[in-house]
Each structure stands twice: as structure tokens, then as C-alpha cells.
Symmetry: D2
Subunit: 350 residues, 4 copies
């Protein structure tokens, strides 16, 4: 009997680039589920993989099907899987935690020390089918549209950041308005935050930030953003900082905007070590600085599903092109042009 084949976007060798290949549809193993991909989305990490940066070279072991943002429909379930059935609409948490390390045992599988990420350490979702451990699969509420379902991985980053502490009635600064920064604006507003200040240097992204609900968007190249936020808050600073840029200067500015006793949630990825005025901006302030990684498994998914199901989040301004999987090169180009937005990739047959 011949094994069925499928189209997949692959990194064939440890070098820049990618290509569409015909590969075997993954076998359905015990405890795992085979999902037919309906829509995938591209993460900044996928651009790094495509261009084969230092991090990619150190971590990935090609050949590999990459991609880790998607939604789809269950095609087949492996032995012992009782909670999913063919036809179920699903997405997935692509970080597979080991369940045994100390963070896992302490209820923090999102920082598992032995995590395997589908689309990075194993085959991912830029294909017609993807295989997922049943425990990582997430059934979609009927009311969640497909393009929203395809981006629940990064939306989960935003929800995790916003809800990592108090938010209702809090003033907020969002530093950096890439896709996750923009989503975090919508999420914070939906959860009752008070005045929200955003910083962003791209005029296009700044405009999107306003559309997502930011009350004041500042360009730190043109304005003393710290002075302005302090002035707006009667000298106190904001209750919550959501750092979404990874830019060292933005991190420093964000911490200067934070009030004593405030909470800073850092999600942006700095490319280098960061020099901080730790004494004034953290210690004397009695600030709480949280590293944010991934999504809480699965509190974040519950929260995010509720917000989406209830129609609390208008993310339409974020969505750009819908392209076929085979048009990946065009998709990557679009994203490199820096327009914060999500490009949806559709496999053949969808």
C-alpha cells in the first residue's frame, strides 16, 4: 500500500531558503492526532528560520517542515485518544512540555526545561497535515473565525502578557507595536485597562496602534516619550508596562515610564545584552519585572478563547494578504517590509 503524500514548506538543508516538497503524510501514532491544516500564519521566528540566522543554525536540524501558527480539522486520531474525533475544528499549543522537569512539576510547563517546539524541533504546520500530541490540541469554539484561529499562538503571547497581573483600571504603556504589541493593545482594552500609551517609530504601525485602541501613540524618535507619559500621569508613571519591542532603548524607556510598585511584563526579544538602571528603575521602585514566554498551559488558552468567542477582540486591522502556501516567498517579502500584520497561508485543497 502506498503511503499518501502531501505538499509541505520545508527547510531541506542548513542554509538560507526553503522549498515546497512532496513528503509523506505523518502516520497517526498512539496519543497523537493528525490534523488537516486549514490556514497557517507566519511568525517572526519563521523569517529567522527562512533566512537561517545564528539562532536557527544553532537549534534546527533540517530537513524540517516549519511553521507553528495554524488551525485545521482533525483528520484521524491515534490509539488512546478519546477527546477528539475526525471533523473537530482545532488549533494547538506547539510547545510540547516534558511534564517532569521542575518547572513542569511546579505548574509552569510554559517554561519547561525540555520543551520541544513543533515547527522548530519537529515538523510543523506549513503543510497539508500536521501531527500533534492530543494533550496539546485545542478544540475551537464554533464562533471563532478561521483567520483568528490561525493566530492564537501569538495572540496567546499577548494575552499571557496582559493578564500576567492586574489590568482592569490600570494605566498601561505598550512599547513596540509589532503584531503582538498591537494585539496586546486590543486585549488590554478588552480587559478594562485605563489610559493606554503606546510607543512606535513606524507611522504605519502607529496608525494601527490607534485603530487597536491606544489612547496616545508616541514616536520616541520625535518626542521625549518618557517625559510625556510622566506628564500625562501626573508624574506617577503607568501601572503596567508591556514591553513588546526587544529594543534596549525601548526597554529602558518603558521602565522609566513605570510607576513605583508597578508591573513590567517583558516579551520582546532583545538581540543583545541590555544595560539597565536597575537601581532607580527596578530596585528603588519596588517594581515587578516578569519575563513572558509562550502561553500559560492552558489558562491563557481558556482566557483567549473566551475573549474571541465573545467577540471582544477586533483584530481585523492586523490581517493582510491571504496567499497560497506555494506563494511563501511573496509572503515572507511582505512581512519583511515591516508592515505589522499577519499573512495567512492556505495549503492546497483548502
Amino acid at each position: 500500500m502506498s503511503i499518501p503524500k502531501m505538499q509541505a514548506l520545508r527547510k531541506p538543508r542548513p542554509e538560507p531558503g526553503a522549498q515546497i516538497e512532496s513528503v509523506e503524510v505523518p502516520a497517526t501514532r498512539p496519543g497523537e492526532v493528525l490534523v488537516r491544516v486549514r490556514a497557517a500564519s507566519i511568525c517572526g521566528t519563521d523569517l529567522h528560520i527562512y533566512h537561517w540566522d545564528a539562532w536557527s543554525a544553532s537549534r534546527l536540524r533540517p530537513p524540517l517542515t516549519f511553521g507553528h501558527e495554524f488551525c485545521g480539522v482533525v483528520e484521524a486520531v491515534g490509539e488512546g485518544v478519546t477527546r477528539f474525533a475526525p471533523g473537530d475544528r482545532v488549533t494547538a499549543e506547539m510547545h510540547v512540555a516534558c511534564g517532569h522537569c521542575r518547572p513542569c512539576r511546579a505548574g509552569q510547563p510554559h517554561v519547561c526545561q525540555n520543551v520541544r517546539i513543533l515547527g522548530i524541533d519537529q515538523d510543523g504546520c506549513f503543510a497539508e497535515f500536521v501531527r500533534i500530541p492530543a494533550g496539546n490540541l485545542w478544540k475551537l469554539d464554533a464562533g471563532i473565525p478561521e483567520h483568528y484561529a490561525a493566530i492564537m499562538d501569538p495572540l496567546g503571547n499577548a494575552v499571557h502578557s496582559v493578564l500576567a497581573g492586574s489590568i482592569a483600571g490600570c494605566t498601561v504603556a505598550v512599547t513596540g507595536c509589532g503584531p503582538i504589541g498591537l494585539m496586546s493593545i486590543a486585549v488590554a482594552k478588552a480587559c478594562g485597562c485605563s489610559t493606554l500609551y503606546a510607543t512606535e517609530i513606524s507611522p504605519h504601525r502607529a496608525k494601527l496602534a490607534s485603530e487597536m485602541g491606544a489612547d496616545l501613540v508616541l514616536n520616541p524618535k520625535e518626542t521625549d516619550a518618557v517625559a510625556r507619559v510622566l506628564a500625562e500621569t501626573a508624574g506617577a508613571g503607568v501601572d503596567v508596562l508591556l514591553e513588546m519591542s526587544g529594543n534596549p532603548a525601548a526597554i529602558r524607556q518603558g521602565l522609566k515610564m513605570l510607576r513605583p510598585g508597578g508591573r513590567a511584563s517583558l516579551l520582546g526579544i532583545p538581540a543583545e545584552p541590555v544595560t539597565l538602571d536597575l537601581l532607580e528603575d527596578v530596585i528603588f521602585k519596588g517594581a515587578t519585572v516578569q519575563g513572558i514566554y509562550g502561553r500559560r498551559m492552558f489558562e491563557t488558552w481558556l482566557q483567549m478563547s473566551a475573549l474571541l468567542r465573545d467577540g471582544r477582540l477586533n483584530l481585523e486591522p492586523l490581517f493582510k494578504e491571504r496567499l497560497r502556501l506555494g506563494e511563501y516567498a511573496q509572503a515572507f517579502r511582505l512581512l519583511e517590509q515591516g508592515a505589522a500584520g499577519k499573512v495567512i497561508l492556505l495549503p492546497d485543497g483548502v
Copy 2:
């Protein structure tokens, strides 16, 4: 009628040094309490004031009686003070919060934006008498010895740090074994912490760390302390970091020792900006980094009083000389020699 006089250790002018002067006993004002000092203790901050460093020059307005660690007995109470009476044994929280700024209103008066510190912004306790707002006065349990009562300010820093998150059953690293670092070892152990690793370069302080209960004391000049702690914790790292040194290298090492999902409480005061591997050591780790300043008003005081009253803390190894207030020069010299310990100053007449 002549106003009574008292001896006080004063910073008379904005320059190095100090001197004993005869000044008026403070008048007892409404809502305030006059306390006869029984024993005072010297903080590292007092050394900075004595030598008149840049921070002192920027903040203090001499003439001033300095000193902010003490215990005493109520001498007289001002109008409207009903909860204290002459003869009460007391100590005090010397940070006077405004009660109206946003941190105060948010239940965080320990990071009040308008704080006035007695002994820094107003006259302090290196004198025969000190005047304290009634709300800042703390009645001492009968069983707390005088020399312990005199150091509840720095002990409160240690208690605040240790109890700023979970500690029972947690592995701990203490980086830096000055007086507050040493106290934090005793406090963490009294609160049920698990294996406690300390780092310290002074052999004398390292010995004290063991006496206070550290399970393993490492000299980072001689040992790869990070590698050792990771090895001891099966590669996981510790649950809790208590950073007590302010040394940038120690801060970096401490964060490297921390497990994913762990808690870092930073109390040590860096003299300069600190460069961190924020991505690996905080963000990807999902770590929580807390700035620790002062003492929670007054949760920390309740906790600390209970630990002292119940005899849970053996701090005897910390106590060095007892000297007369007039012997202040000798006291400061002793402390500068770097032996982590507390020198008690006794006013005349005690």
C-alpha cells in the same frame, strides 16, 4: 523656662565628617511621639553620609541628626496620640509615607513617591531622643531583646526580601553576605526554605554565612559558582534568588543560577547601570524579578515581630561591639573594615 538639651551625632555642614553636639530635645507635636533612644545601630547608608558621597550631597540638607536604626522607650506623646504611652518599648519604621500618592493609595506605601526618611530627610535617632509620627511607631513584644530591636530596620529588609514570594520548600541562592544577606539566610531557614547556597568573597563573611545556616557557601573568585549551583540542583537552578550584593557580576551570576519560572528579589544597591542577559536570564526563563525597597508597611513588621518573639532567629553571630554614641568614629572604622556585623551605639545615660 529653658528648653532641655540632649547630645546628638550631627552632620553640621555639607562635607565629610560628623560631630557630637548639644541640641534641643524635640518638642512633642500633635500626632507624634518623643522616644528616649536606648540603642541605635549603624547602616551602610550612615557610612555614606559620614563620608559625604555624591548621593548624600544630592539628598541631605545639613544640619541634621542622622541614624535610622534604633529602639527606645516612649518619653512623651503628642496631642491625639492614644495608642502609645510613656514607658512603652518601641522601635519605628523610619520611612514616612505621604498616604496620598498612587503607590500609597494602591497599598504600597513602602514605595511612596513622596517619602520622607527620618535620619536622612529629617532628624534621626543618633541622639538621646527622637521624634516619630505615631503611625510609624512600633510597639515591641516583651520578649524581643534590645539589640535585636535596634536592628529591625535592616532585618525588615531581609524579611521583606525572603517573604516577597514562596519560600517554604524552595531552594535558595543568596548572593552577597553583608549584614542583610546574612540575616536573610537566617530568615529563609526559619521559614522552611530548602537547600540554601550563598556566594561571598570575604572568608570572614563566608564563615558567618555558614553560621547563619547556609548549606553551601561559594567564593565566586575561586569557584564557578553558577556551574556548581546548577550541578547541585540537577541542572535546574534554584527556586529563589535573594540578591544582596548590588555587585553587577553577582547579579548576573544570581540570575544564571535561577531556574525557569523562578523568583529573583533584588535588594543590593548597584553603584552603576547593570548589563544583563535579559533574554536568556529573564524573558525566556519566565522569571519574576522584584525590586525590594524598605519594608512592607506593616506586613513585614508583623512577620518580623513574630519571628523574633518566637525566638526563630539566632542573629548573635552578627553582633559586634557595643560602643557609646561618642565613640562613633571608632564604630564607623570598625564597619569600614568590612566585617559584616552590626555595631550598637548607646547614648549617654543608657
Copy 3:
């Protein structure tokens, strides 16, 4: 010099009833502020006082000006008051905490053991002027309308209840749709809650509950509300119970609606002991049951001010008549008819 007089609604003697009297305007004492009342509102407690129930008889010491919900304008400030000035628009937290008992010292002044309530233990706001300790006064944001400002005391109860734990993305049951129950619906929705179920037997209040944002309002006299909520939540139950009725049957139903691991915040005042299935509904469920009393000082006020300032709460359906202070008898009658709503009382001269 004659002391100025004002009109006040008084309980002159320990018996049912009340009357308008002409009394002296309170003197402005050190640390206190005299406020000219612009609008007051009537609490259920005021009805108890008016009718002189057992609780009133055991606690109040007439003669007394009652009333504890209001807003106004600063008329004069006492000695030592620096943060308020004549003309400031204000309201107040009417629970005056002692600052020294264990709950106060532990950061929980809202459950002070020696609390004095203005309008119950001392003269309150049903008058042209009311005197407030400066620490209890709350400056109003410019954008908050007067009738909203007059009901921040009960609105604070609702905000305290809703934000006593996680709410964003949580399913919620509100049992009892009196004024605070209705406000809690609006607050929970503004803070991103998911599906909200309310129970109420009065058709009028049920209609108001829908207007405030409840997704489904059930009449427990007509429907098996527990079965319905469990069915709607796929058998799980809700994440959060807000108990606003004080009715023993409603409390039991609410706890049956709660999911394992859920949070129940109890604010409604039962008139008698309550029999609970503690084993099934609390212990085996691992539920957290919180008593809610008053408002967090002053976290709740910060949160509530932000929600009001940002226009997040539409409370218009709650407001009924505006009457003169002298029309108090009519006001009390209106409220006794059970229409959940707030009646605003206007002193003469306003």
C-alpha cells in the same frame, strides 16, 4: 459670633423615623475637611436605620445625621491638610480605619477591627455639610458626573467584589440583582468577563440585569437555575460567583453553579445563619470563598475611578428619581417598593 447652621436629616431618638433639623455646621478640625454636599444617595442600610431594626438599635447612638453615599465640594480644610483646597470636587470612603489593629497593619484596613463609619457611628452626609478626615477624602476626576460620584460607595462594593480575583475571560454568575448586583454586572463586563448568568426573581430587576449586560437572566422560582447554568457551561459550572442577594437559597444555588477550583465572592447580607453543603460545594471543589466587605482602601477607589473616568460603565438604567433632601420620606418609600435603583437626594441650595 453665631455658629452657622445647616439642614440635616437626623435620627433624633432611638426609634423609627427621621426628621429634618437645623443643626450647627461642623467645625473644621485639624486633619479634617469640611465638604458641602452636592448630592447624596440612599443605601439599604439607611432604610434599616430609618425603620430602626435590631441591628440599628444595637449599633447607633442617636442623635445622628445619617447617610454615607455622597459627593460634594471642599468648603474648608483643617490645620495640617495640604492635599485638598476649597473648591475641590470630592467624595469619600466613609469607613474610618484605626490604622493600628492587626488587619490595618496587615494592609487590610477595609476590615479594621475598630472601624468608625460616618453616617452610622458619627454624623454622615444627609446634610448640607459633612466633615471628613483628610485621609478618607477622594478627589474626583473631572470627567465623572455628579450622580455617578454620589454612588461610589456601593459601586466600590461591586468593583471590590468583581476584582477580588481573576475576571477577564471568566464565566460569571451573579446571584441577586439589587443595585450592587446590577453594578457588578456592568463592572464584570467592562473588565472582560465572558458569559455572565444572573439570577433574580423580580421581573423589573431581571430586565435591568439584561440592560446592564447579563447574557442570560434566570428566575430561580420558574427555572432550575443551577441545572441551566451547568448545562450552559458543559457541566463545568462558572469560574466566578458574585453573591449579591444574601438569600440562603441563592447562596447555595450559587455555590452549586461554581466550578471546581472556582472563586465565590460573597457580598450579600444574610439575615440568619446559612446551612451549606460545605463538603460538596466548597471542600471537594477546592473552591475559594471570599467575604467581601467595604472597599479596598484605596485600590478599589483607583480602579473604580479609572473605570468611571474612561466611561467604561453605563449605570444610567440604575438611576431613578432625584429628590430634595426634605423629600426623604418619599425617597425611602420609592426604595421600599423594591425597584433596584438609586435615588439621589439634593440638599437645599444645590
Copy 4:
């Protein structure tokens, strides 16, 4: 090939009693581990099963090997199990969570809605071998003695209760000094609690409570325990109530002993509905009442392992007889005599 046999203590039919039978050693299935039992311990629940009370009749489906407290050595591991190997010393969390219900997804598998308990819903540990899902197995630290390892299930109940909120520096009341109550005394003391009051009517258990570290043990049949605890705490009440009796009167007394703003953790199992003064003892107090069930998976296990490994808990007074598995009738009789203590059962061949 003949299937190997083992001795097991079984409930053969739905009726009182039990008997030793020779049954097949469980087959080692994928993802599961076969453990040779070294020592088992008897829970109060086992007595209910033995006597076949109403709860047992409603839940159990005989024939069944019961028992859910034990330690042992891995005999064989099923397919896919990589983290355990024959010879590993282990114990286990016997509550098998589904991983998919809302509490599981919300990080609260200890209140899983579909939990299966080994020894109640499936075969347990009163046998020579027991089969455990790998995710529920817990590797023992080398320093933990066998008899302590055999009682980590109930010790986990105690640790879960004590560490469900702040404990260091807190005053505590423990109502009911059965085995878990006694363990909770030792745990609270090891975690730095302040004065601990215990109530117990059995003189023998009261003596044990003192041995475990209680500062004052009161017999509520002889003393007004509430009045005494209030007097001892200057009228405030205790910070923490650990309710370990399930007795309605004790629950009411415990809540009366609790200070405003305090925490009550309820673990004892009431046999009937409980009537509470909910208004005075919970609502007006702003108390937090927590149902405690099972153990946090696996935070509690980490905490408990650390406390045991570090020798922080002296539980020797709790241990009574060691008997052979075949002497079960004698063991049950011993426990029915009400001496709070743990009886260890040893299978043949150990």
C-alpha cells in the same frame, strides 16, 4: 506461559469486609509503571471502604484492590516510559487527572472533574504490586525514610493546607488533631508559623499535638476555646485557620477564632450540611475560606519532598504498629480505637 500471581487485600463484593486474595500481577501497559510495594499505610477512607458505608456503596465497583498510600520500587516500565527505571524508589499521586476538563486546563488538576483515584476507582496499593501511570509516579529523594515515604499522600494534604496561603510569622489555629491535623502542626511550625493553637477532645491526640509542636492545645469540651484564643491574641483572632476535623461545631469555632482578613483552609470532611454564621464569620470579616482537596500536582509534592529531605519534619510520634498485609483486620481495629496515628502494612516478601 502462566501469568504471575500476587497477594492483594480486596473488597470482593459490595458488602462490609475484605479479604486477602491471590490475583494476577497487573500487566505493564504503555505509559504505565509497575511498582513493587514496600510499605503501605491506611487512610480513614480505607476504613469507610472496609465497613462499606453509604459513600463507598455509591462509588466503588468491586471487586477491587484498595489502598492509596504507599511507597515501593519500580519493577518494570511500560512502553514509552523514559523517566523511570527498575530499581527507582517511588511513591505516587493516586489521583489521576483527565488533563482536559476546565479545572485541569486552568492548572488545577487536583480538582479534576473526571478524576480516577487508584485504590477507589481502580486497583490500589494494598498488594504486592501496583500499576501507576508514569505521570503520577514520584521519584523519592534518597534521604526520605520508607515509613515517611509511605504516608506522603496524607502528608501532602497537610502541606497543601498549610501552604495554601501565607504561613511564616502567622498565628494559626488547627481544629482537630487526627493524623492530618497533627502533620499540619509539624508542617506549619517548619514553615515559620508563629503561635499555634490546637483544639482536640481526645487527651491522647492532644498530647500528640503538643509533641508535634502546638503551643497551646485546648479541649473545647472543657474550655471556651474561642474565648481563650481571642484572649491570647489580644482580641484579634488568628491569621490562619486549618480546619482538620470536619466537625460542624469545630468549623464554627474555628471561624470565630479567625481574625478579620484571615485565611481559613478547610480539609476536614463534614458528614452533614454545616450551618454557619456566614455574615459575621466570613462576610463582615472579609475572610478567605478555601476548600482543600488532595494535593497540588505537583507543587505540593515538591514542597513536601524538600521538607522531608531536609529533615524538617519529625513525624515519629505519629507512627504506631507495623503489621503484615495479612494482619489487616488488626490494623483496622487499631485505627478504629481512635489513636491518631499511622499503621504501616508490609506486603509479603518485604
